[in-house]
């Protein structure tokens, strides 16, 4: 079994099961359930395929325990693709799969996080304690999906884990920091949403007119730092001038 220390799994433990999604895509599943190390190993395989310049490979979507790969079967045979996947699985794990460390300022509670009170009540703690709990963890980007630049950050402290809201909100503001089940996330743009809103950040997740890629890549690590409304307002002014936070280098 893979270890839980965040290192990629030993190659021998990764035996992919490959399912067809039509003739032009495959779902590669690692039948071991979710773990942080499997998730990182999947990201590594995805990155290796991206970097392989394999003719006929189109793109891949990493998820928590699977990888979906689309390809042109008139150029790349299924057999060759599966061989490439297997050899990517067999390669020794690299030093990191992205792994930049981001510190995201967050205004907790109040109008910025209207559900923090409910979350704290469910957890049996004060709002301030709930915020400290959320900010105490270093999260890992397990995948992006739902919206452009929407990163699923695992693993939320146990005490904060709640099911989604019974009724989704029709409009969640961009920059909202939210939690649901074992995850936390930052809404990159305004959208409907069913997660609990506990805070807000002025940091843009992906301004496509300025940023070639979203702020977070799969495999990155993210920390939250509580700031007050004035500090957030000052940051918002800098964001308007084009500021984006710089990550700490890969570890």
């Amino acid at each position: 079994m893979p270890s839980e220390d965040g290192a990629a799994a030993p190659p021998s433990s990764l035996t992919p099961k490959v399912y067809d999604c039509g003739e032009s895509a495959v779902l590669v599943e690692f039948d071991v359930g979710y773990s942080k190390s499997i998730s990182l190993a999947i990201l590594q395989i995805s990155q290796r395929l991206h970097g392989s310049h394999l003719e006929g490979y189109v793109e891949s979507i990493p998820a928590a325990s699977s990888l979906t790969i689309s390809y042109d079967p008139l150029v790349l045979s299924r057999e060759s693709l599966v061989a490439a996947i297997e050899s990517a699985c067999a390669m020794p794990p690299g030093t990191s799969a992205g792994g930049r460390l981001w510190t995201i300022p967050c205004v907790y509670g109040g109008a910025s996080g209207p559900d923090l009170g409910d979350v704290a009540r469910e957890a049996g703690v004060s709002e301030a304690e709930a915020a400290v709990l959320h900010a105490s963890q270093t999260y890992v980007v397990s995948m992006l999906g739902f919206l452009p630049g929407f990163a699923y950050l695992v693993e939320l402290p146990e005490r904060l884990r709640l099911p989604r809201r019974a009724t989704p909100r029709p409009r969640v503001p961009a920059g909202s920091i939210a939690i649901a089940s074992g995850m936390t996330a930052i809404y990159p743009l305004e959208s409907p949403g069913g997660w609990h809103l506990i805070g807000w950040t002025p940091v843009p997740m992906w301004d496509v007119s300025r940023q070639e890629e979203p702020l977070f890549a799969p495999g990155d690590r993210v920390r939250f730092e509580a700031v007050d409304a004035q500090q957030a307002e000052a940051l918002r002014a800098r964001v308007a001038e084009g500021w984006v936070p710089a990550p700490e280098a890969a570890v």
Binding site: Y19, D20, C21, G22, E23, S24, A25, V26, L27, Y34, S46, V58, E59, S60, I61, P62, A63, A64, S65, S66, L67, T68, S70, P73, L74, R78, M143, L144, G145, F146, L147, P148, G149, F150, A151, Y152, L189, S191, W206, V208, E213, P214, A217, P218
Partner: protein
């Protein structure tokens, strides 16, 4: 003023679409692009554009445009009926699948789609719209691409790259684009979440497209597809043509604006050769699902790719007398009883 096509009425729904935003799904960006990429290619090659260039994708009735350029060559392809050109002194009827030169002030009135859901309007030289992440396609949910990232509105001026129609022969294309009566599927990646009875149901009576469908997916109504268990699967990457089944058992066919990941199990996948055809299905239409194997899917994809690659060789110069007779027809129309419909 910049040369443009101006929206007088967007009709039911119209967006700018090209071949889509490929390569960004790992960052959560849907591919988007034309629901019917074959009709997209046909409209474009008729006006001398690259087959994947940006076009206006229109759904439903009511689209009306005005030509705000010296002239322009346009072509209509897809599930399209002849459209009307209300110009100075004449009302013309122009067929789909041929280049048509229009002039400043002409008002183009498009009828509802025929035999399907969508059609495409290409302009020679293309539209002057900046690409976002490599594509001009509109993804309205995240305000990406097209005109301000949204569906077209009254008053939008869609800028043209050419200020006048090119001097080139007018072309005709012999092809047809109709919604299918059946589409072929392969067994899906989560097939083991379903009962054998579900596969029998899927291959049995036709499923009807519900009005709740959109560019993200076609919602079907028909016999419920039973699952072996009701549990969610962990979120997985989605693919074009995936037939996913929510707990109510009514399948949803994922189209161009599908989210990149999802947690409903997928019983089947529409084969690549039939995805463009599936994109033509309109609410109320019934379709049968036919299960095929991978070899058949691959052979069909190869045949479809060859058909598409050969489309340019099927272009013919439009006969001049056809144009004349259309003009005469138009003049008759304006003087006759049908003028009252205008």
């Amino acid at each position: 003023m910049r040369p443009a096509l101006t929206i007088l009425d967007p009709g039911f729904a119209a967006t700018i679409q090209d071949r889509g935003r490929v390569g960004w799904q790992r960052f959560g960006v849907p591919v988007s692009g034309a629901l019917d990429p074959e009709a997209l290619a046909a409209a474009n090659i008729l006006v001398g554009n690259a087959p994947g260039s940006a076009t206006i994708e229109a759904m439903g009735a009511g689209l009306r445009l005005r030509v705000d350029a010296e002239s322009a060559t346009l072509a209509l392809a897809g599930c399209a009926a002849p459209f009307r050109i209300e110009g100075a002194g004449a009302v013309l009827s122009a067929s789909p699948l041929r280049g048509v030169t229009v002039h400043r002030g002409d008002v183009l009135r498009f009828p509802p789609p025929k035999n399907g859901a969508v059609y495409y309007i290409a302009a020679a030289g293309g539209f002057d719209i900046p690409p976002v992440l490599g594509s001009r396609s509109t993804y309205a949910r995240a305000s990406l691409g097209g005109i301000e990232g949204r569906t077209l509105r009254v008053g939008d001026a869609i800028p043209l790259l050419r200020k006048a129609a090119p001097v080139a022969p007018t072309l005709l294309l012999d092809a047809s684009f109709e919604a299918p009566k059946s589409i072929r599927v392969m067994r899906g990646p989560n097939a083991d979440y379903f009962t054998e009875r579900a596969f029998e149901a899927l291959a049995g009576a036709p499923y009807t497209v519900s009005p709740a469908s959109d560019r993200m997916g076609l919602r079907f109504k028909g016999e419920a597809l039973d699952r072996l268990n009701s549990g969610e699967i962990p979120s997985q990457g989605t693919t074009a043509g995936a037939l996913q089944v929510p707990p109510d058992g009514q399948p949803i066919l994922l189209l161009a604006d599908r989210q990149t990941t999802g947690g409903y199990p997928r019983i089947a996948t529409v084969i690549g050769a039939d995805i463009a055809a599936a994109g033509r299905l309109a609410p109320g239409m019934a379709v049968r699902f036919i299960e095929v194997g991978r070899e058949e899917a691959l052979a069909a994809l190869k045949a479809r790719a060859e058909w598409l690659a050969a489309l340019p060789s099927r272009l013919r110069a439009a006969p001049q007398d056809a144009l004349t007779s259309e003009r005469l027809l138009g003049e008759n129309l304006i003087g006759g009883v049908t003028a009252g419909e205008m």
